[in-house]
């Protein structure tokens, strides 16, 4: 989780939860996937209509065309709204990428918000597309089309222009699009291992919470080279005499000891943020 893209929502119980804003690239991918699914649906529709016409007779092609146009319009207008209403903020494209739409103010996602944020997609996506595919028949029309394309381009790239990565629909609907990772509960690092190394209180007061948590991530994910490096560094800092023959066990024991000390301080309301914090 990067700090810059973290946002806070307040639950109705008054608790503050942190959510991670979705990457703009992920949102673009989800949109492309959704457009692709819409495209497939429309393709299937064309197939059905053509089959129907070939069976019933080609005179109904006018009617078939109208049915096609109306169905195309319906699919285009209601796809996103239908899925976001049905699955609480997830379209098939978003589901694949792992994103979700939530209410910025911590309440439930209201149907009005879903409707308005998707209706604005007409303005952001489909309108620029019509300008893109327009075939102006005169010089002045070409200029007008170009100007409209640039103007609508502002809407398309709106997520790039604000900190919360809101597109126009998000601003109007009061929503955020968040990443929904699934964190796994790993074993407690302080509980793994015997007490092979013991440390004095003096040695355990060298670091604060920040270093403790870095040590935790090193222990969880680090390779032997990193472990060795960190063990040497700590040993030097605390002036450890004796060999550090097993860096992993050394670090585990140091972690356990440091955690014990710092959590003890927590009980008295003292939070030592890092090694420079004189708490």
């Amino acid at each position: 989780m990067t700090q810059k893209s973290l946002r806070e929502i307040v639950t109705p119980e008054g608790a503050a939860l942190h959510v991670q804003l979705a990457e703009r690239g992920s949102r673009a991918v989800a949109l492309v996937l959704d457009l692709f699914f819409m495209f497939c649906a429309i393709g299937a529709l064309i197939l059905v209509l053509v089959l129907f016409a070939s069976v019933v007779g080609w005179e109904i092609q006018g009617l078939a065309y109208i049915v096609f146009l109306l169905a195309f319009f319906a699919i285009r207008s209601f796809y996103f709204i239908f899925f976001e209403l049905r699955s609480n903020g997830r379209t098939p494209g978003k589901r694949i990428v792992g994103l979700r739409v939530i209410n910025r103010h911590g309440g439930p996602l209201s149907p009005a918000a879903i409707v308005s944020r998707n209706v604005l997609r007409e303005v952001e996506v489909f309108l620029p597309m019509t300008f893109l595919f327009a075939r102006p028949s005169s010089q002045s029309e070409a200029w007008v089309t170009m100007a409209l394309l640039i103007w609508s381009g502002i809407f398309v790239f709106m997520p790039l222009f604000n900190r919360d990565r809101l597109r126009l629909g998000d601003m109007v609907g009061g929503t955020w699009v968040i990443d929904t990772p699934q964190t796994i509960l790993a074993p407690d690092m302080a509980q793994s291992g015997g007490a092979k190394f013991t440390f004095t209180p003096q040695q355990l007061s060298a670091y604060g919470i920040h270093e403790l948590q870095i040590l935790e991530s090193v222990l969880r994910k680090g390779d032997n080279l990193t472990l060795n490096d960190v063990a040497t560094r700590i040993a030097n800092k605390i002036e450890w005499e004796g060999a550090v023959d097993n860096p992993r066990v050394f670090l585990q024991d140091y972690y356990a000891g440091l955690r014990h000390v710092l959590e003890g301080k927590l009980l008295f309301g003292v939070r030592r943020r890092d090694k420079f914090d004189k708490a």
Binding site: I66, L85, F155, T180, H260
Partner: protein
């Protein structure tokens, strides 16, 4: 066990509560795969309770534990549960019913003044276009592009013009349908554009509406000068009452957005925009429905209805229905 032989408080805490967290995790995995419908009723009852228990675990963990992974896990779990516990309260059918019978008419009534403004501006445009073209038919070419006219130019003979509004049975074909649908997509685009331009503080919306009105005015003038005026209005009316109504409402929704940005009053601009946006969004969804219905009528009515009187009747009935719908539905406070 750590060096001192005593167990960490956070570890004791975790041992006590971990089973509940795992239970919630399993429930959430099930719900995320198959939706809330995939859960049994026993599980559905357990969910809020587990959510609150995990929420309290999170608060405790934040104050007594320095295990980053555990705190992140609890936060993640709580957020995932929060999304389901505070998810939508009603089924899709109820939401649609609420939209049709309550929200939509009510929002349209609330946007009465912008709608009237939009209507007046469009009518003014119509009058101007009609007047100018009656005086001098060259105005027609300024006001309407070639493709939109589709052969209905002043240079066309009266016979040809008559053909465009009435047609024989044998004349049905792909060509006419394509033109009809072209008009439909064009008008839908006008509706969306007037809404979008509303965000630009409303002035372009009124401008666009006015210009749109002039183009219709130019067309009506051409037909009027050949004594086909009443027939043209009839041809327009079948789907036109619904379609033009939709365009006026779309413009009203856009104006609402523009007003929210320009005059946020007590709220911040962002909050005012969000509030107006949700109201305008409902109106626009309604406009999409109306455009859809207009397209349906246009597609079917064109082939089937040839008499001008019936066309006026259909147009009038549709207008009456819409006015009645917007006036009387959604009045009781539920």
């Amino acid at each position: 066990m750590n060096a001192n032989g005593a167990t960490l408080r956070s570890a004791q805490f975790r041992n006590k509560r971990e089973d509940a967290w795992r239970d919630l995790e399993r429930l959430l995995e099930k719900a995320e795969k198959g939706g809330l419908e995939g859960l049994t009723s026993a599980e559905l009852l357990r969910l809020p309770r587990l959510y609150r228990a995990t929420l309290s675990s999170l608060s405790v963990a934040r104050s007594i534990s320095l295990d980053r992974n555990m705190v992140d896990y609890l936060e993640n779990l709580t957020t995932r549960a929060f999304i389901f516990v505070y998810g939508p309260k009603r089924r899709l059918g109820a939401v649609i019913a609420d939209f049709l019978f309550d929200s939509w008419p009510r929002q349209v009534r609330a946007a009465l003044r912008p709608a009237l403004l939009a209507f007046i501006v469009m009518m003014l445009g119509w009058a101007l276009g009609h007047g100018l073209t009656l005086q001098n038919e060259d105005w027609f070419y300024t006001l309407i592009g070639e493709d939109l006219a589709g052969g209905r130019t002043p240079s066309a003979s009266s016979e040809k013009l008559r053909e465009t509004i009435f047609q024989d049975e044998e004349q049905e074909g792909l060509g006419l349908s394509i033109f009809a649908s072209f008009l439909f997509t064009h008008n839908s685009r006008v509706a969306m554009l007037t809404f979008a331009l509303g965000i630009a503080l409303g002035v372009p919306t009124l401008l666009l509406l006015f210009i749109f009105g002039t183009s219709i005015g130019a067309l009506s003038a051409v037909f009027a000068s050949r004594d086909l005026g009443a027939d043209f209005i009839g041809w327009l009316m079948i789907h036109g009452t619904t379609e033009l109504f939709a365009i006026v409402l779309a413009a009203a929704a856009g104006l609402k957005l523009g007003a929210a940005i320009a005059f946020p009053k007590a709220l911040s601009r962002r909050d005012a925009l969000a509030k107006a946006g949700q109201e305008a969004g409902i109106i626009i969804l309604g406009c999409i429905v109306m455009l859809f219905i207009a397209g349906l009528i246009e597609g079917l009515g064109r082939q089937l209805i040839q008499s001008t009187t019936i066309r006026y009747a259909v147009g009038g009935v549709m207008l009456g229905m819409w006015l009645g719908y917007f006036s009387f539905f959604g009045r009781e406070r539920r």
